[in-house]
C-alpha cells in the first residue's frame, strides 16, 4: 500500500478515489482492506479494480461474506434461541460450538453453491446439505473424518432434493405447529426468495372451529391463504421442530421407542407424514403460482426457474451490499442485476461483482463495517483476534457474529429472532463496541511488538505517516500528522510511551476510514 499511495501522490493526475473504491469493493466482498500488493498493482496499472475484484470473489473470505449476507436476510443465525444440547454422543462439545454448527448448515450450503460457481438456483434443488462433525451427529448425516471440516453430503432419510428448503437449519428456524401447518415456512419462501410480503387484512376470526373454515371461505383470509397454503403443503413430511427439552428428555431416558426419534441422530423427515399431512390439515395440493408441484422438490425446482426468484436475488444482494432495505432497491436496478445473473448462468459471484463494481454503489455515502467483519478487519490491521470465552463451557465466541454472549445486535446487526433488521444508523452500543475492539487491538499491537514504541519526534512522525497508509489507506497531510503528534504528546504527558502509542493507535482504529468504507 505504501508504494501505491506514493505513486498516487506523485502521479500527474492522482486519483485517490481509486484507492477508496478498491477499499470499498474489498471490504464489501471480503470484509477486509486490499493488501499493499493489490493496491500497488492497482496504482501501477498492473491490475484494474475489476481484475482485483475477480480475485476477491475466489478468496475464502468471500464465502464467509456470502454466509453473512444470507444469515442476515434469511435470519438463520439464531444463537439466542435454544438448540439441541451437547449431550449423549455430543457430550463435551461447547454449547456455543454446537449452536454455531447447526446454524451454519444451510448457510454453508449456499456458500458452497455460490463459491463453486454453480447456478444459484441450486440452493433450492440440490439433494445435498453441508455438515461438519457436529451437524452430522445431530442429524444423522455421513461425514468423513479424513475429509475437510465442512463436507457436502446427501441426505439419507428420503427427504426431497430441495436444497435450503430441505435443510434442518431452515426448518428449525421457521418452525411449524399443528395450527401453523408449515405456513411460517411458506411465508419465508415468499418474503425471502421472491421478495413478496403478505399483508394481513382485517380478519374477523371467530371461534376456533371456524378458523379453518375462514381460511378457505372468508375473502379476507383466502387472499393470502390461496397463495400460501399450496406452498405450505409442499413441506408435508418435514417435522414441525425439535426442542432442546425433547432431545434432553429422550437422551436422559435412554431413547425408548416412542422417543427414539428425539435422540441423536434426531429424525426430522417422515415419509408417511409427507403423504398424509396435507389431507390431515386440510391443505390443498402442493403448488406454486396455481400450478401443481411435486412436493418440496417440485417447489424448489419451480422457484429456481421463476423469474421472480432471480429478481429477488438481485434485489437482496444489492440491498445487503448497499446497506439498505431490499424494498428500497429500484425495480430497474434489480432487473438489470437479474439480467447479469442470468447472463452468467446463475453464477452469483458475477451478481456480487455487478453490484459492487456499479458506479452507483461506489458513489454511495460512507458505509459502516458490519459487526461480522469488524474483527477480521482489525485483525488484518493489527493481528488481534476479537473473541472471548464465557464462563461455563459455552465455548469460544466470535464477538461480532453472535448475540448469546457476543455483540452482533449491539453493533447494529440482527440476532435473527427478535432483531430482524440491521440498525439504520450507528448506535451508542456500536460505538462502545468499537472502542472496546480498538483499544484492545491497539494494546495488542503495541505489546506484541507489531507496532514499535518510538519516542523520537521525527521517527514518531514517520511511523504515523506509515500508519495512515497501512490502516487508513490515505496519504496524510502535515496538518493531520500534527494532530496525531499532539494526541501522542498529550498522552505521553499522562503516561509512558507505551500508553501514548495505545492512545494514538486506538484513535486511528476508530477513524471513519477504518470503521467505515
Amino acid at each position: 500500500m505504501l508504494l501505491a499511495l506514493l505513486l498516487l501522490a506523485c502521479a500527474r493526475d492522482p486519483d485517490p478515489s481509486a484507492i477508496d473504491d478498491a477499499v470499498r469493493v474489498s471490504v464489501a466482498l471480503r470484509g477486509v482492506h486490499p493488501s499493499s500488493d493489490e493496491l500497488d498493482a492497482l496504482t501501477r496499472g498492473e491490475a484494474s479494480l475489476e481484475e482485483l475484484a475477480r480475485r476477491w470473489v475466489v478468496d475464502p473470505r468471500f464465502g464467509a461474506v456470502v454466509r453473512d449476507l444470507h444469515a442476515e436476510q434469511l435470519l438463520l443465525r439464531i444463537d439466542t434461541q435454544p438448540h439441541p444440547p451437547p449431550m449423549g454422543p455430543l457430550a463435551g462439545i461447547g454449547e456455543g460450538t454446537l449452536t454455531r454448527s447447526l446454524d451454519e448448515e444451510p448457510l454453508r450450503l449456499i456458500e458452497k453453491v455460490v463459491t463453486d460457481g454453480r447456478p444459484y438456483g441450486e440452493i433450492l434443488t440440490t439433494p445435498t446439505t453441508m455438515a461438519d462433525a457436529n451437524v452430522a451427529a445431530v442429524w444423522g448425516l455421513p461425514w468423513d473424518p479424513a475429509g475437510p471440516e465442512w463436507q457436502e453430503v446427501a441426505w439419507e432419510d428420503g427427504r426431497p432434493a430441495a436444497g435450503l428448503l430441505a435443510t434442518n437449519g431452515f426448518w428449525q428456524r421457521f418452525q411449524s405447529s399443528e395450527q401453523n401447518r408449515h405456513r411460517t415456512r411458506a411465508a419465508k419462501v415468499l418474503s425471502a426468495l421472491v421478495c413478496q410480503s403478505l399483508e394481513s387484512g382485517t380478519i374477523a376470526l371467530g371461534a376456533p372451529e371456524s378458523l379453518q373454515d375462514a381460511v378457505s371461505a372468508d375473502p379476507a383470509c383466502t387472499t393470502c391463504h390461496d397463495v400460501i397454503d399450496p406452498i405450505a403443503a409442499a413441506f408435508a413430511g418435514a417435522r414441525k421442530y425439535v426442542t432442546e427439552a425433547e432431545v434432553r428428555t429422550a437422551e436422559r431416558s435412554g431413547c425408548p421407542a416412542p422417543l427414539a426419534g428425539d435422540c441423536y441422530p434426531v429424525v426430522m423427515w417422515d415419509d408417511g407424514a409427507a403423504a398424509t399431512d396435507g389431507d390431515r390439515w386440510g391443505l390443498p395440493a402442493p403448488g406454486w403460482k396455481n400450478e401443481p408441484v411435486d412436493g418440496l422438490a417440485g417447489l424448489g425446482r419451480a422457484l429456481a426457474t421463476d423469474p421472480g426468484f432471480e429478481v429477488c436475488t438481485a434485489r437482496r444482494f444489492r440491498a445487503w451490499f448497499a446497506q439498505e432495505p431490499w424494498e428500497a432497491v429500484e425495480a430497474s436496478t434489480a432487473a438489470t442485476l437479474a439480467d447479469d445473473l442470468r447472463s452468467a448462468d446463475g453464477d452469483a459471484r458475477e451478481l456480487a461483482l455487478a453490484v459492487v463494481l456499479d458506479p452507483g454503489f461506489l458513489a454511495l455515502p460512507r458505509l459502516w463495517v458490519r459487526p461480522e467483519h469488524a474483527s477480521a478487519l482489525v485483525e488484518q490491521l493489527t493481528g488481534f483476534t476479537w473473541d472471548l470465552r464465557p464462563d461455563g463451557g459455552y465455548g469460544a465466541v466470535e464477538v461480532g457474529r453472535t448475540d448469546e454472549f457476543g455483540l452482533r445486535a449491539l453493533m447494529g446487526g440482527v440476532d435473527g429472532w427478535n432483531s430482524t433488521r440491521p440498525d439504520a444508523a450507528p448506535s451508542p452500543t456500536r460505538e462502545l463496541s468499537w472502542r472496546w475492539l480498538a483499544s484492545d487491538a491497539a494494546t495488542y499491537a503495541v505489546d506484541s511488538g507489531r507496532e514499535p514504541i518510538l519516542t523520537e519526534e521525527g521517527a514518531v512522525r514517520e511511523a504515523l505517516r506509515d500508519l495512515h497508509r497501512r490502516w487508513l489507506a490515505e496519504e496524510a497531510d502535515e496538518d493531520a500528522l500534527d494532530a496525531d503528534l499532539a494526541l501522542f504528546g498529550a498522552a505521553l504527558d499522562r503516561g509512558d510511551a507505551r500508553h501514548a502509542w495505545i492512545v494514538v493507535l486506538t484513535a486511528l482504529l476508530l477513524d471513519d476510514r477504518v470503521v467505515g468504507y
Binding site: Q179, F405, G412, A425, P428, T429, L432, A480, A490, A507
Partner: protein, 409 residues
Amino acid sequence: MRRRDLLAGMLASSAGCRVLPLEARAATGAPHLIVVHADGGWDPTFALDPKPGLALGGPWPDVDPEDPDDVEQVVSWGEIRALCNDVRRPYVRRYFDNWAHRTTVVPGLWVGTLSHWEGKDRVLAGTGVDGSPDVTAITGGTLGTGPIGAVDLSGVGRPGPFASAVARAGVRGQLRALLDPASRFVRADGSARPDPGLEDTDWDAIEAWRRGRSGGDRDPAAARADALWRERGLLLDALPLGRRNGLADDLELAATLIEAGTCHAVLVSTSSNFDTHADARQQHGSWNELLGGLGILARRLEDRGLLDRTLVLVVSELGRSPERNEDGGTHHWPYTAAMLLGADVGGHRSLGGTDDRLVGVPCDQGTGRPSATGEPLRYDALIAGVLEAVGVDPGTWLPGVRPLRGFRG
C-alpha cells in the same frame, strides 16, 4: 444492603457530578414511557379477561378439586374484572388490590395475525410495516432530553431510524461488558484480555482528535456513548453479565433509569415465555411473575413521585386460542389484551372486550367503548393513543389512525 437501597445511594452520590437534575431533564414535561412486553403471546383469560364459560380453556382445567383454596374467582374493581386464584396466581389479586385505581385494562385487542413476529411489530410499533420503530424508540428518540433516548432491556426493540438514540442491553447483559472492561470474559485461548489502561482523559483526547478528523462534526451515537459511559454506575450495578435478568430486576432498573433521567423510555420483556403450545399451566406462573413485577414497578414509581409522570403499557403480541390442544397447550389467537398504568391513566377502567368465543367486540376506536358500528379495538389505535398520551404526534408515525383516548383522564 438491598439492591434498591444501593441504587438509591448511588443516585444520591452521583447526582452532583454525573446526572443532570431530574427537573432539568424533564424540561419538556412529557410523560416517560415504560413498555412491558409479555413475550410469546399471553392468555388473557388467566387474569384480564375472565371467561368462566370456557370449560376446556383458560385456567379452569388446572383446578385441583381436592384443594379448597385452589379456586378461580372473578373479582371486580370498578369496571375491571380480573380472574384471581390465590394459590396459583396470588399476585393478580394483589396487583389490582393495590393499583386498580391507576389501571385501565383492554381485553379484546385485535392484532390481526397469528405470527409472533408480525404481532410484535404491531403491538410495539403500531404497524406491520417491517423496519418501523417501536413506541419506546419513537418516544425516546423524539422527546428524550437525557443522555439516552430509550433503553431496550428486552432485545425485542425496533429502533428503526432512532438507532442513535437507543441503547440495547443485550440478552445476557452485554452492555455491562461495554461499560466495565474489568468484567469482560477472557479471550478464547484462555488468556487475559489486553489492558489498554485508558482513562476518561484519554478517551476525551481521542474523541477530540476524531472530531478534528471529521471537521468538527460529532456522530450523535458517539455523544450518546459518552453519556452512557459517564452514567455507567447505574447500569453496572443492575446488569449481570453472562445471564439474563429476571423481570423484577429489569422493571426495577427501568424505574431507576427513568428516575435518574438517564433515558426517557424503557422497553422491558418478560423472562418467562407465554408461548404455551404445550402445557398451558405455565401461564399461571408467568402471569404471577408479571403482575408481581408490575406491582413492584408501580410502587417504585409512586414512591419516587414518578407514577404521575410515567405511562406504563403492558402488552403481548398474541392471545391464545380458547381450547386446549392434545398437548395441554393453546395455540395463537389474533385477539390479545393490554394494560395501562400511571400518567393520566383512568383507574378502575375496562375498554374493549371479547365475547364468549374470545372474539373482540365492536368498539369505538377513540373511546374504546362498545359500539354496534365499530370494530374490535385495533393495535394501531392503541399505539397511536400511547404516542399521543406521551406527547408525540401519532400522525407522524401512524398516519390516518384514530388514537385510542378512552384510557386517559
